[in-house]
């Protein structure tokens, strides 16, 4: 606030980016100092340079069956399959639940019960059913992502002012037109927020599942790093997971802004 602005965002967006970059740079510096000064053994904490070199070698040479790109592709594939199923099933079901309220008491108890079983608790049964396969990983992603899809869609649709549907009816619109032209566009921002939560929940569950089971993927890469006593490999895997997750969310935010030009900033959900 040294520039005397009263805005809640000192220095505006560019100022925020600069602040964030400064913190990241400070962390990196602390890491560099800690790892090169001999305070911490390189076996415990390799230097940023060692991690960068390891990154380059993982890109070039296969480790535990694939290069870094190969592990990444395997993770992304499972993630995409699980998410696609969660969205394609969760969003229409959420609309249905909101549109036909009598369905809610029928489905709610099942949901409440399943909600408290964490995605990882499904790993053993998924392995039993589908083996150590892509399907198993995708199922875990699905289980992690599905609730956010269905719950947010249902909230979004049932939260719409009924007067809008009435206005559409007096202008001659039937249910299908009202749904397509009024309800879904108005619900879209909240649905989209739900999708972003689903994307990140799915991503986290996937990495966890890969740590436990599987022969490829970023989570598997990390667990192999541990077995091979290579902290650098683990750090490369962790950084890749973090950076990729962030990038995906940034892309989604951009897409949301492009797809919903009529949204005001003031009513965008808190992030």
């Amino acid at each position: 606030m040294s520039d005397g602005r009263t805005s809640s965002l000192p220095g505006g967006p560019s100022g925020r980016i600069a602040l964030g970059a400064t913190t990241l740079a400070a962390l990196l510096l602390a890491w560099l100092v800690a790892s090169t000064s001999g305070m911490v053994s390189p076996r415990v904490l390799p230097s940023p340079l060692d991690v960068a070199l390891r990154f380059a070698s993982l890109l070039a040479d296969p480790f535990s069956g694939a290069t870094l790109a190969g592990h990444l592709a395997a993770s992304l594939q499972r993630w995409a399959i699980g998410l696609a199923c969660a969205i394609l099933l969760g969003v229409p079901l959420g609309v249905l639940l909101a549109w036909l309220p009598p369905l809610r008491p029928a489905i709610a108890p099942v949901f409440e019960l399943l909600r408290y079983i964490p995605p990882f608790a499904w790993v053993p049964i998924a392995v039993l059913w589908f083996g150590a396969s892509t399907t198993t990983q995708a199922v875990i992603v699905f289980i992690a992502a599905f609730p956010a899809c269905i719950i947010n869609t249902q909230l979004a649709v049932s939260g719409i002012d009924p007067i809008l549907a009435r206005a559409a009816r007096t202008l001659g619109a039937g249910s299908a037109t009202t749904l397509a032209r009024v309800v879904l566009p108005v619900a879209a921002p909240t649905i989209f927020t739900g999708l972003r939560i689903a994307f990140s929940n799915g991503w986290m569950a996937l990495v966890g599942a890969e740590l436990v089971v599987g022969k490829q993927g970023l989570g598997f890469l990390i667990s192999q790093g541990q077995i091979n006593d290579s902290a650098a490999t683990i750090l490369v895997g962790m950084t890749t997971i973090g950076v990729l997750g962030t990038l995906i969310d940034i892309v989604l935010q951009r897409a949301q802004r492009l797809a919903l030009p009529w949204r005001t900033d003031s009513v965008r959900p808190a992030e």
Partner: protein, 260 residues
Amino acid sequence: MIPKMEIRGVSKTFHARGGTVAALEPCDLAVAAGEFVTVVGPSGCGKSTLMMIAAGLEAPSTGEILVDGKPAGPAGPRRTVVFQRFALFPSETVAENIAFGLRVAKVARAEIDQRVAEQLALMGLDRFRDAYPHELSGGMQQRVAIARALVVRPDILLMDEPFGALDAQTRTVLQEEVSRLQRELHYTVLFITHSVEEAVYLSDRVVVMSKGPGRIKREIAVPRDAEWRGFEIEESGTHASFMQTKREIWELIRAEIVRQ
């Protein structure tokens, strides 16, 4: 002559806590083509319920709504509604909101464009064609809602306290605008308000409702050739005949409010 719209024996009973509550006793009301009829009454007199039934958005317990002498059927573009809370579609621009009913009716693209342009000009909305509702003031939003309801050329326009959510200045401007539209284009309008002044200024006939349960208490004609017609509302209000009608209606409503 067959009225444009007829409310015939319409009543409404709600079921609540094991018993039934009569919200509306059987009401009869006819609106002739080109006539502007306003319903006034204290809160809770069932005037909004009557309007929702007239629009086809709620089913009456008894009675029926006729348009041109035939049962009106479900809600639809022959009876469009302007709501107090505007009810614009937030994801659509002004032009898209106005075009909504025409697109639903599958009117040809060229004709939609032309009729939307006419409405934009009529309501003074040209500059806001591509704006989204949240970018507009309340007064502008309600202009869009009126345009959206008029563009489909309804048999009757139903206005449910349309200026109730607006500030006093904006309300005055819109009252004068609606009065001008009515004089020039002769829409058939059923209008609900709790403002007696608004009712007298706009109407050919004012229907006063009483409450507990709601019913039509009295109908008062306001001559179309009254000396104050065509003036601004401020000016009209100073004429003796305007004040006389206003006082007459107000006495009827006051009796209802005191009666509780």
